[in-house]
Symmetry: C3
Subunit: 198 residues, 3 copies
């Protein structure tokens, strides 16, 4: 555990932090949160107690990661908003929300899959799944699931194209594409993209 | 005042804080700000000196609440932006803004009414009114007043539907609606929704 | 240098700060960053080591300014996101990004010109130029260059009109406009606006 870096101004209340992870200034990580190895948690981040973050994840400065969010291996989360409450939850402390708030039915899981990238200013609604190696463009507002390898943009976010694991755009000729940089090959069936041997 | 919780890393410069209110890590609240009872002010919040916050208000982590913003009872402000300057104010320190900046004509009031909820990533323009029990959806950019009980989404934000005080969607049959969860009844006249006895 | 104000909770690691500049609570400014005179850097800001900020710049609370961003004289940056990585960069720590990340090809320059104003909740994509005295409206997502004196709004941002150096709207009669407040005159040729002697 001696290769973990924790900035002296940060408040780290969990013991579940993997080796090589760095946590920067004025961040707070609540008791019970799990953070993998080789992660980088930027200044002014706030991570709640039920959050699970896998390995090699970069959480850029100022992110707030609420209970219910799960981030798989190797992804980049820009300064963005990952929400964890239902869109139709209203006031939480007031009597009107009543049982809905108290029984935590409002807490839905938001899952960010391996290699996905969420860019600056993006907002991800609670309960959505961000597919592996997809890119959520800057300023996008994600209201439904994002397919693997998709690039989504806009408010609400729509699929604008497809990207390789390295992030470079893919051009599908009929239902096949090839990344000249990585030499990886992909097959496309509707909105389902798969890596293929070639 | 002994049931107020103030995190030791926060900077609270006002004396006007109601009972039961909690203020979390790395927050700063300027002298002269007023915060009611049973409020919850998250990590990394910044609240300016003219702000008035009523009771039972949740201000989620990372919010910046500028002078000119007034929040009534019982609402939930996600990690969002409430602006307090005119859209057409330009550079503020430079000579070009001159008198406009110096006489504080740029400061307009933004009023968030009882029970309204502003979701993650939303932006509210200065001078707008957010109607009671309305929901400003995640990522919405509010450029004009939001009616009471409305759900607004998009950039710019438009009314997408109507919600009960508990946050559940309302379906109007002709001009009447009923919430099966709360057993509350509503009447609708154009964009004016009212709670009615039934 | 004795008129520089640095809040005791902030972490200022650069020596390049001009006279009269104020840096507020819980901000962090990395070694090597350059900040001019009479600037105001708000609470919870984070400024990376390659950033160059000229004089009279206001950086509102909570901004994160990444390497590659250059801000010229006299501008107002609301609580917004200035990105500094290519849209198509994917995971950064994971092996898939490989050479692209390591050779810093992902780092592109974002230049904010004199007097420009970026409002709350706006997102500016890396590599774009924000023209002088332009206004990027609240919540706008800037995906291409913004002309001088333009007001842009929306996601993606589009030109909605033109503004004087003081921020007031300009109405062009044929190709000429006059600001009644500043008494400045402008000529318009397509999307190119110039200040003219009159």
């Amino acid at each position: 555990m001696n290769d973990i870096f924790i900035h002296p101004t940060s408040l780290v209340e969990t013991h579940h932090i993997g080796h090589g992870t760095q946590i920067w200034a004025f961040a707070q990580i609540l008791k019970g949160a799990t953070i993998g190895s080789q992660c980088n948690i930027g200044d002014h981040c706030y991570i709640e107690s039920d959050v699970k973050i896998a390995d090699n994840v970069i959480i850029k400065h100022g992110n707030k990661i609420w209970s219910g969010v799960m981030l798989n291996n190797g992804r980049f989360v820009g300064p963005s908003q990952l929400t964890a409450t239902r869109q139709h939850l209203s006031v939480t402390h007031a009597v009107q929300s009543g049982a809905t708030y108290n029984n935590r039915q409002w807490l839905v899981t938001t899952r960010i899959h391996e290699g996905a990238s969420i860019r600056a200013g993006a907002t991800v609604l609670a309960g959505t799944q961000i597919g592996k190696f997809s890119i959520v463009g800057a300023g996008a507002v994600v209201t439904k699931d994002v397919p693997a390898y998709a690039l989504v943009m806009g408010n609400p976010a729509h699929v604008q194209g497809w990207v390789c694991q390295c992030g470079h755009p893919l051009s599908f000729d009929s239902h096949l594409a090839h990344c000249a940089i990585c030499n990886l090959h992909y097959a496309k069936d509707g909105k389902v993209i798969k890596l293929i041997a070639f």
